[in-house]
Symmetry: C2
Subunit: 210 residues, 2 copies
């Protein structure tokens, strides 16, 4: 006897909670049902299958991005703010991040950030074709950065400082890696992200002036 009736949003919320608590691998229909105190099959009255549930997770997380756009700001700042807003996902829902970027959404939740980015680029003076290309570059960079931040992509800094793979490497075979081990090991994700973002924005600003 749940206090509130079962519903798609409630099920999605339970999934998000579970992912943040125990990781995406812990998600199962049975487990979520148990968390909600209902039978497994009750879920199927509100969600067609597990895949759709994960789509719901991605949509819900995406729709919570807070874009605070200032139309009067320089376009480079607006692009930067949009990228940073997107990166907030990795802070608010670190363990959902992989789910968000790996789902092929066709809902409006995924289209809104795209619409916004394209509008900003076009207002900066880029043509449609250019804007699309540039957006793709930014998306690739952002997705790749979030995955590293969230520990999916190799960081070369697995767990802790001591007994590290990177630090136990043969200096003769890998002189650079072993020499730069301390730098490879610690990574300020925010400043790394902004560094690459700055490079990209600078590069497309040059592109615009030509």
């Amino acid at each position: 006897m749940p206090a509130e009736p079962l519903s798609r949003p409630r099920i999605v919320a339970a999934a998000i909670d579970l992912i943040e608590r125990e990781g995406a691998d812990a998600v199962s229909m049975r487990r979520i049902a148990a968390d909600l105190g209902v039978g497994v099959m009750s879920l199927y009255n509100h969600v067609p299958n597990k895949s759709a549930l994960l789509d719901g997770v991605a949509e819900t997380v995406l729709s919570q991005i807070e874009f605070s756009d200032d139309p009067d700001a320089d376009w480079t700042d607006r692009v930067r703010m949009q990228a940073l807003a997107f990166r907030q996902i990795a802070h608010h829902y670190p363990r959902c991040t992989m789910v968000v970027v790996s789902r092929q959404l066709q809902s409006t939740a995924g289209l809104l950030p795209v619409e916004r980015a394209l509008a900003t680029l076009r207002s900066a003076g880029f043509g449609g074709h250019e804007a699309v290309r540039i957006l793709r570059v930014f998306i690739a960079y952002i997705v790749g950065s979030l995955l590293r931040e969230v520990g999916v992509t190799p960081t070369f800094a697995p767990v802790h400082r001591s007994d590290l793979a990177v630090e136990n490497v043969d200096p003769l075979l890998f002189p650079q890696v072993s020499g730069l081990a301390p730098m490879l090991v610690d990574c300020d994700h925010e400043s790394e992200f902004e560094f690459g973002l700055g490079l990209l924005i600078q590069a497309i600003a040059v592109q615009l002036k030509r």
Copy 2:
């Protein structure tokens, strides 16, 4: 009675084959054992568990990258060639790509490309700290690009030209997206990849001159 004896390489090869034929979701210990004509538990004599098997897949694919480095070439060309070599994974093993980029390897297979990239950047004149930062930017961009190419990350061009999400979007809510639908839909992955790569290389070249 298999012709050849069971071995870790043979098991990994079977896994790679299966992934390329039916996708990463199709991988199960039972299925691979069946493909090899042995009992499930026989696999565990050569591989400790499924996770280690997937690590083996990633290592094997990574170790097949062909880096053809010309030490006399301009550093910008060398960086470009290394990035393009990495991208070949997505061509040779499209469905393994997700597995490759999402495994946290500590074997030398993953370290070799890193060593090579750092050496190139340092020979170009970048300091250790800069080289590491720049490498991280490139890795993020490459990983993000490969995931799009392989269909993991949203392309905004799901399946086919007709009946597309992007093309059935409300033009009033999403004027840019619906106006640029044809460009969002078709994507020449190679030229897109090289476009962003060029932007990044140009940006870090500027960085170097300062």
